[in-house]
Symmetry: C2
Subunit: 231 residues, 2 copies
């Protein structure tokens, strides 16, 4: 196998948990493709028949509106995979990809990758292990970053909602907890922990989508404290 392909795979976080031999197996199915600056890699709606890893250069992932306006979603550099989510999930590409500069990109065909996983289940076990570990680390990181401001944003949201619903002792969430987490800038896992923490502090009691407001003054303090901090 091409030595430089091995080097690219070795540096890719997606394959971090893999052994040298497993990297060789992936390397054997990888196709090294050169792209010119401005060259299209795939288009929105194309079938996801393989995913990509940037070896050299830079790639932009973008959507184009009906009026032709371009919105850049991501810019990826060496080591970054792209297109892997739709390809793993078996769906079409949800956006366009184009080389921003002269680039070298590895293409991993879906069929060959599926065969590889069937023959070597340890390969997918290791990938699942690595992705699961990073997910856990990221969850902790988001929690650390969120715990400062999200409780006050949540308190503020609940007090506004109480006013809207003309109640002082309970509100009904009109969106799912997943949507609420996203609205407050966190993830469901962390929102659950914040709900639990505020329940222990006797500020609220959570009953499905119904939130009992046990200490309106406390919630207002928390909500104002956050606002002052942000200014």
């Amino acid at each position: 196998m091409n030595k430089s392909i091995h080097r690219v795979l070795l540096a890719a976080p997606l394959f971090k948990g893999l052994s040298e031999q497993q990297l060789d197996e992936i390397g054997a199915i990888a196709i090294d493709k050169p792209y010119q600056r401005g060259e299209s890699i795939f288009m929105e709606g194309d079938e996801g028949n393989g995913f990509y890893i940037v070896a050299e250069g830079q790639v932009k992932i973008f959507k184009t509106s009906l009026e032709g306006k371009e919105q850049i979603l991501h810019i990826y550099g060496p080591g970054n995979p792209f297109g892997e989510v739709p390809v793993f999930s078996g769906s079409r590409f949800p956006a366009n990809a184009m080389a921003l500069v002269k680039s070298r990109i590895l293409f991993l065909p879906r069929d060959a990758f599926v065969r590889l996983i069937a023959e070597h289940p340890s390969l997918s076990m290791n990938m699942l292990g690595e992705l699961s570990m990073r997910l856990r680390q990221f969850t902790v990181q988001i929690e650390n970053l969120s715990l400062k401001e999200v409780p006050s944003r949540l308190a503020s949201y609940l007090t506004v909602l109480a006013e809207e619903q003309g109640s002082t002792d309970r509100v009904d969430l009109t969106i799912s907890k997943g949507q609420l987490a996203s609205l407050l800038g966190t993830i469901p896992e962390t929102l659950s922990r914040i709900f639990a923490k505020m329940s222990v502090q006797n500020l609220i009691r959570v009953d499905g989508r119904q939130i009992h407001l046990l200490d309106m003054a406390g919630l207002e303090d928390l909500s104002v404290a956050g606002k002052l901090e942000e200014e």
Copy 2:
């Protein structure tokens, strides 16, 4: 298959991307185990011969120091998997697990799970797709949360390092970029983007572990701005 096992699997984020049929395949290898309050589930150092999903109740994951002091790492409730990282990666359990209350826990034996993946590669493709998608979402979330404060923390770190190294125009990072990201409370992906942004703003130029400080006054402003904001 037990209908209640199917319900637990359906609610578990780890299996979110899977079809009904794939959930049934996993359900067929899952073992439903009751645990009493305070009962041990596994001990640090045990071989990871399977992973777990909380069906009902609550589980604590903890370490015990040589002096017998307990440190709780996580508390998991319904839908949460645990032990899956070492089991996917083929290592031993790095901590202890114990039922905090009377619980029902699904056990998924490693051997049977590996066989399942080998027979149905689409199952692991879907799991890889789901985990990759969540990783991407979490990356965006961390970036959104980090962009407010991390640049000023980084500027502050660089100015302190410059003083330590007796230089005003460049510093040598003494830790890896991964460690630096963690020190600043973010992830390597976001730190790279912040480096890129500060380079575009002509504050710094990054050359491996060597950071050229192009605008010391600008860096000091950024570092102080962050501190003021935080107070």
